[in-house]
Symmetry: C2
Subunit: 327 residues, 2 copies
């Protein structure tokens, strides 16, 4: 089993690489080789004993996608992409990386031709949805993204379905909910506070909450996201055909419920490090985001998210903080 | 008022050109100039007294889109495209013409820059939908096309919405139902029989019906399609924002009801020229097509289709057969 991961240097890419390295197998077959691609050279997994190839390349650049799949990987995890904020600020870059990069990968796979039909797991996002929404977003709700990022992801989903239908690849597109708690430093993403209000207080630092505590959103941990990816890789061929793109489950809760989880697990002193300072711009952006994702199909297909936000907080403490926090 | 029509040599393109030529005005403003583009040189409208420029070009070819909008048209009708059957047979050509051609046009408009924001009317299709369907397809039903053509149209819709949201153009995407009765010779499109079973009998020729008479579908006349295009051009700016793509109304009926209309209008002898010869391949393709389109939003916005299939038959006799038929 040979696996290619694009975007392998990103947060999810690194956690997926580690997970696959530890498992040493996928769908019961031993992993012989991992090819790790990103625009910067991705780190090698610590516990993996098979062959590892690292590639620093931009998939959208001429010939790079063909090189990336030259070894004919059996499974491709396509995580590479420019995030929401950057795709909105740099219109050309967003389309080049998110749309052209994905198309180049699909075209490189198609160009291999007869007999080559790898499982291609594509990470989409609930950013493909745009307000106004019904109380719960069903699996058959239309995609009306309100960002260029969401548009590019929706276009990638459409191509993935078409290339799969035509038999060029065996695609599974998974729409990730907001991933919390993201480890590391705060970033400038409008969604950053969802992680920040948990991560910073646990690290003994103040966090700013820029929206009302009544805001409802759907979350999953980085561990759950990696679980979605691995599960997507192991689904039987044509399990999803022809609707190969599906919304992932998550924990739907209010910001108040997020904070209550933090308080239950880490105490009042930690929870008190959250400072309310409503930011009308962030509040407006967040108002356009999906709230409650039904994800019935994904649940029926065995995709598993956490059952409570408490679990999400505990996973962060365990996985990214060595089991401790600053009281 | 300067108007650009891409795909101006096609059936709808020619009828739209004639209509605009006759009207001489759009949204109350006189039309000074028509720019007509297609891969073959489009015919000039007979009754138009303004300036007409004809261009034979492929929008996807480098620099052609920029040339097409060099005169900064106030309204662009983007009809150019490869049809369903051809996009399915020639994968590369479908993506090049339908996706890259549309993107090139959008990019050429964006490249003009500040202050230029033309109304761009984009013709999509109900082929963006794919089975299974609810009894009636609502406006917020997801796009899961089962053809490359439908995929490319869905991607065009996504770009149109994003470029409009960003202020680069003022887009209105209209999803046309099946247009009947198409004048001219039978073509090899799987949907061709919907027109054929009316057109051929009225011309004294036998027509083959390859599906069961219970098949339900949504139809509009070429005249209604031109009406949709003109109405889309006259909607107030931001009337649709941010959901600029919408399903057009039509007459939902069974094939049996189509035939009953033909019999009512032209008599038993004409209707008897339809020969039933079920074609399992066509039947299978048609089974994946949308049946009943709700189009509530379009109706509320004033888009008008025919009220009965009788009207559709009469329009064909009047517009394409000089008011007569072969008894």
């Amino acid at each position: 089993m040979h696996i290619l991961i694009t975007g392998a240097a990103g947060m999810i890419g690194r956690k997926l690489t580690e997970r696959l390295g530890e498992d040493g197998a996928l769908t019961g077959k031993p992993i012989d080789k991992l090819t790790l691609l990103d625009v910067v050279c991705p780190p090698k997994p610590e516990k993996f004993t098979g062959k590892v190839e690292t590639i620093a390349a931009d998939l959208a650049a001429s010939g790079e996608a063909a090189k990336a799949i030259a070894g004919r990987p059996d499974v491709v995890f396509h995580l590479a992409g420019v995030v929401s904020g950057e795709a909105e600020l740099d219109f050309d870059k967003g389309y080049r990386v998110n749309l052209d990069g994905t198309r180049a990968l699909l075209e490189a796979i198609r160009a291999v031709g007869t007999g080559y039909r790898p499982r291609l797991v594509y990470t989409s996002s609930i950013a493909v949805f745009g307000a106004p929404f019904p109380p719960t977003i069903p699996d058959d709700f239309h995609l009306t993204p309100l960002t260029s990022y969401g548009t590019q992801k929706a276009m990638g989903e459409a191509m993935l379905a078409d290339y799969s239908r035509r038999g060029f690849c065996d695609g599974v597109g998974i729409r990730l909910p907001t991933i919390v708690v993201r480890p590391g430093k705060p970033n400038k993403a409008a969604s950053g506070f969802f992680s920040g209000i948990i991560r910073e207080p646990l690290a003994g630092q103040e966090a700013v909450l820029p929206v009302a505590e009544t805001v409802v959103h759907t979350h999953a941990s980085p561990r759950a996201a990696v679980g979605f990816l691995v599960h997507a890789a192991t689904l039987p061929r044509d399990a999803l055909a022809p609707r190969v793109n599906l919304s992932m489950p998550g924990v739907c809760c209010t910001v108040a419920e997020q904070i209550a989880s933090l308080r239950r697990i880490a105490g009042d002193r930690v929870a008190a490090r959250i400072r309310r300072a409503e930011d009308p711009l962030v509040a407006r952006i967040v108002a356009g985001w999906p709230q409650r994702i039904e994800a019935r199909r994904a649940r029926e297909l065995g995709f598993k998210a956490e059952n409570s936000f408490d679990e999400i907080v505990r996973i962060h403490i365990e996985e990214d903080r060595g089991g401790t926090f600053v009281n």
